[in-house]
Symmetry: C3
Amino acid sequence: MTSLTFQLPPLFDYFATFLWALSGAIVGMHKRYDMAGVCVIALLAATGGSTLRDGLFLNQLPPVLTDVWYVPLILLAALVVQFFRQRIAGMRLIDNLINLIDAIGVPAFAVVGMQLSLAARIPIPGVVLIGMVNGFGGGILRDLMVGDTPAVLKPGRFYLSAAFVACILFVVLEVYLHVAATIAAWIVIGLFFTIRALAVRYDWRTQPVLPDTEPR
Amino acid sequence: MTSLTFQLPPLFDYFATFLWALSGAIVGMHKRYDMAGVCVIALLAATGGSTLRDGLFLNQLPPVLTDVWYVPLILLAALVVQFFRQRIAGMRLIDNLINLIDAIGVPAFAVVGMQLSLAARIPIPGVVLIGMVNGFGGGILRDLMVGDTPAVLKPGRFYLSAAFVACILFVVLEVYLHVAATIAAWIVIGLFFTIRALAVRYDWRTQPVLPDTEPR
Amino acid sequence: MTSLTFQLPPLFDYFATFLWALSGAIVGMHKRYDMAGVCVIALLAATGGSTLRDGLFLNQLPPVLTDVWYVPLILLAALVVQFFRQRIAGMRLIDNLINLIDAIGVPAFAVVGMQLSLAARIPIPGVVLIGMVNGFGGGILRDLMVGDTPAVLKPGRFYLSAAFVACILFVVLEVYLHVAATIAAWIVIGLFFTIRALAVRYDWRTQPVLPDTEPR
């Protein structure tokens, strides 16, 4: 851990975790779960990516176990959703808020995962894979648990591909061009945010591999 | 492992594993799976919680690999269900039996998970989390594998919340009040069993976070 | 790793991984995912089994991280499907091709998993379990991710049971009869292939544990 030259600032990490938990709690609320179910979905959304990264790939204790603030933060997010449930249920902008969380949270967590993998001397393709798992794992587990097809798999969102390009850029910058890790991280977060913002602004959409021959 | 002061008696552990496998086999039977499919669901229900605990969180070999009796016990449970399939399919009390299994099995496995986590020096919130994963993991994986939304997430059952309270009580008793681990374990199992029995007896139900404004 | 006396030849391993990735990419294409979604399903199908084996059970780095060829191979499979999408969509023989891939790939990966488990001194029932996880894990994760019930659980395919018999035979041959590992491996692959071919040829089908009393 001492060789890591980039760490998200702890407050930023907690803030992102809280926002991801909020997104999970909102999904659970819309599924008509009770408070306990809402907490479970919030927990999955906020810590699923880092738990898959550490538990399945890197064989180390995931931060949800070692950092005492994660579980309380997630309970807090569930309580916030419980308290403002009527206002959130009536919101139209909630999707925009969640998109904004994602546009910052996905690359930030992806960079953390890639840093940890580089420190563990994983080969380059594995580093990119762990970046993707860390960035998207929480959202995918959240969707699977509530019985939805993971949103990121569906066409119409410029999401996985933007993150894949951003992850490769990070590895190129840091491993081959020896850019300082902190600078590489912010470039990557900025790039992903810009691609996503442009995709929403100009309505760029990905196409299914197999186009429909008849209207759906 | 030497620092553990509470272990479920091995026969109790095998008995609980067998009952959980039975519950999984019954679910698989009702889904019209063949014998092999029934065995897979029984295996998931009986060992999913401990496998997630050890494989994903604590990074040690899960007991399904190291204990030679688990796989034969699960095959036995599947054979029992195969043999009594007509009687089980016609039973009305089968849900009560499964509820009874759960009311004993969930807190017992939760306590085992918390003991292992305390021995691994996991911080307190992580200990409670592993208790929940160990207690509920098998049932959740069973439900996801057969394509159902996990039953514990839905309102109407006093289940996750009772276990959460019981897990916190166990940690308070053992870590802060220094109660002997065996006594703490039985108190917690008794508390969970009592809450569940009262909830069924007096029809206590949890409410969705977002109440319906119109009848479903 | 030095005590392993059987390893799939690397080219065979890459070939099988490529074919599994192809099967995942075809499933993703039929679900109307975009290129990024197709790559995710191809990755799950090709590396899910070995990742569960190493990440969840054996606590070592999964090969998708340590072998630099896996991620590029999977991207290549997705590109092949993208390029030949019209031809694949119109094919009638594609199910036969996928069945052929499975009939070779499942026992081959199962044998690799059992070899690694024996080397890790896992007890016999655990060895058989890891063989099954390694052989079927990728296909099950692929099906769960796209929202289908895993195909292997449904009656009508002689699949899990043939693999279970083959895995037990491998352990008997190698551990109790001290047959050379390479020979045992090819016997097991041949047996599984033969059972599957006979099951398709003579239309052998497994039955649900609970038979229907009325026509479906």
